[in-house]
């Protein structure tokens, strides 16, 4: 199993988590944008970071979850896993011409399985700014008293 996406049986996945439009978190970086996710679990923090990433490109409240994709990868380093998760989503989004608004991921040891749902770009969807990729800059995944935090800078 590598970094490339592959389809998994739907029964292995839990239901997509809804994002709260407008609840995305960002932090400062001179040229690019820092995205941050948080949640009660590591997985929720990853899902929240994914929503923050895609909210740079579109208003997620206007994106209909009509089509789903799934992915999986193997990664022992949880910080690198965040970067790979975001980059696999970005790769799938660009490859299939989709914009995603809902995200889900599960971890089983070093195996990560996740997915996203969204729709093809519509003419009437207000465009934001394209995200080229997630970087290792200011990359951090940690558990604090209020839950899990996951963040990195994305290149736009």
């Amino acid at each position: 199993m590598g970094g490339h996406p592959r389809r998994l049986p739907a029964k292995t996945m839990r239901a997509p988590r809804s994002v709260t439009p407008g609840g995305e978190e960002y932090f400062e970086h001179d040229a690019d944008i820092g995205v941050a996710g948080r949640g009660a679990t590591l997985e929720e923090a990853f899902e929240s970071a994914a929503a923050a990433t895609f909210a740079i490109m579109a208003d997620l409240s206007a994106v209909r979850p009509e089509r789903s994709v799934t992915l999986s990868f193997e990664e022992a380093d949880v910080e690198i896993a965040l970067v790979r998760w975001l980059n696999l989503l970005l790769g799938l989004s660009h490859e299939q011409g989709l914009v995603f608004s809902r995200f889900w991921i599960e971890r089983d040891g070093v195996i990560w399985r996740g997915g996203a749902s969204g729709e093809p770009w519509r003419r009437d969807l207000e465009r934001g700014v394209e995200v080229k990729g997630a970087t290792l800059t200011m990359l951090e995944v940690k558990q604090e008293r209020d839950g899990w935090h996951a963040r990195c800078v994305v290149d736009v």
Binding site: H4, D30, N87, E126, V129, K132, D155
Partner: protein
């Protein structure tokens, strides 16, 4: 930036003295006191980290437009010798491999065609695919894409996008040697399927500009520039393919660095010695992405020509120059009197060969390579010429843009896209975009003063000013 950490060499260059026992190469920062004072301290931290990488030759440098990037600062230049364990770094090239500017000179004077600009703006915005989610008309299967990655702009010309005359004025004749399409992942190739001939988003643009003033008559004459003339500048790169190569290799080289005991001060520097399988693999993929970018700008050149000639049949658009500013290139340089083959990283920095350099097209060889400093959509851009002095000072490198003075996040809080579009229209600058967020993030006020950057570039001996261009139409992604 805290200037007390710096030691002034002269009015336009600065260094940092290593701490006792600190093992690293030299660091040099170009720019005025005013420009350096506005830079984030992270610029200094990042370029100091670059100076710790193995095989560095000469100083690790920042150009006057430098700002905080990832791994390398944007505006960073560093050369490495493969025979001394020198590295190649994905973080030293960036995600948008071979992002650069294609500059076209027209045979049109603003005074003669000013009334056509609104129609031209509409035509360009309709025919140039721009922005997130937009695809071009060219759909390439992976096998056909491999031909693009091998032949670069030459592929585009052979397929009817532009003419052979364009190739002479593109770096390396429109095709860099050493591409290895097999080193490019399947996902990268799939991402590029609909993205040939697209502009992209963020700070990318297609701009119609007018030559506002000439500052070096001889170079302007060689470049075919005159006051009042319209030019077109296309700023974009290798699109999804380059982004995915950056993504793939950033992680794999970060892991390789650990395996190779490189002890990186920042894992974003993700690199491998050039003379290792990992280094060679990235090099082959990166060269393929450079060719992809050169082909992309060639196709966009063709699309822009069609827009002009549809409205103004007598219009002629010739390639002035095509220069990349996110690359690592194998070049010969003279170091301490000896010729050496080095791998020069320029991340957000433009190559600037001086007069007489054999890589400069014959038409320009007496005055030096054209260098473009792209400014914001509300201020303007500069064309400069490479200098012989730059060879010694910065491995023939110069600034690439105005450089951000404010983060995108801050800009979004300060400006609204619609208001900016209206304000610029009142100043005679037509903005066409589908992303008002993008306009706000790219607000002219979010950038450094491009005139200060161009002046510092000249005073530091990196390139000399030739012409100042004012924007008239800007298609933003």
């Amino acid at each position: 930036m805290d200037l007390t950490k710096l030691k002034r060499i002269d009015e336009w260059s600065w260094t940092v003295t290593p701490a006792p026992g600190e093992a690293r190469g030299e660091v040099k920062l170009y720019g005025s006191r005013e420009l350096l004072a506005t830079m984030d301290d992270k610029v200094l931290e990042q370029i100091t980290n670059v100076a710790r990488l193995p095989g560095l030759v000469g100083p690790a440098m920042t150009m006057p437009d430098a700002h905080w990037g990832y791994g390398f600062p944007i505006g960073g230049v560093a050369a490495f010798d493969p025979e001394q364990g020198g590295i190649i770094s994905a973080g030293g090239v960036g995600f948008d491999i071979s992002c650069g500017i294609r500059c076209l000179r027209t045979n049109l004077q603003l005074a003669d065609v000013a009334g056509e600009l609104p129609s031209l703006a509409r035509e360009l915005s309709e025919k140039i695919p721009a922005g997130v989610g937009e695809e071009g008309d060219i759909k390439l299967a992976p096998e056909a894409l491999d031909e693009v990655l091998t032949a670069g702009a030459r592929w585009a010309v052979e397929h009817g996008y532009g003419s052979a005359d364009d190739l002479e004025f593109i770096e390396e004749g429109g095709r860099v040697p050493g591409p290895v399409p097999a080193n490019v992942s399947a996902l990268a190739k799939k991402r590029q399927r609909g993205e040939m001939g697209t502009l992209g988003s963020g700070n990318h643009y297609l701009e119609v500009q007018v030559v506002d003033s000439i500052h070096d008559e001889a170079a302007a004459q060689a470049y075919g520039l005159r006051e009042g003339q319209l030019l077109v500048s296309i700023h974009c790169g290798s699109r999804g393919l380059g982004h995915q190569i950056g993504t793939d290799y950033l992680v794999s080289l970060a892991k390789a660095a650990t395996r190779l005991n490189l002890h990186l001060p920042d894992r974003e520097l993700a690199c491998a010695p050039i003379n290792t399988p990992e280094g060679q693999q990235y090099l082959g993929a990166m060269n393929a992405a450079i060719n992809c970018a050169l082909a992309n700008r060639q196709i966009l050149t063709h699309l822009a020509r069609r827009c002009f000639t549809r409205l103004m049949p007598r219009a002629k658009l010739e390639t002035l120059f095509d220069v990349s500013h996110n690359t690592c290139k194998r070049e010969q340089h003279v170091v301490e009197g000896k010729k050496r083959l080095l791998y020069v990283h320029r991340k957000g920095a433009t190559r600037a060969f001086g007069p007489g350099h054999p890589a400069v097209p014959e038409r320009y060889r007496a005055v030096g390579q054209p260098v473009v400093i792209g400014g914001s959509m509300g201020t303007g851009s500069w064309i400069l010429a490479g200098t012989a002095e730059s060879e010694n000072r910065a491995f023939s490198s110069a600034s690439h843009g105005a450089g951000r003075a404010m983060s995108r996040h801050q800009a979004l809080k300060q400006w609204r896209g619609r208001e900016l579009v209206d304000q610029l229209a009142a100043q005679g600058i037509l903005i066409r975009t589908r992303s008002m967020r993008g306009v706000a993030e790219e607000a002219p006020g979010a950038y450094k003063d491009v005139d200060l950057v161009a002046e510092a570039t000249e005073r530091a001996g990196l390139a000399r000013r030739v012409a100042f261009l004012r924007p008239k139409v800007c298609v933003k992604g």
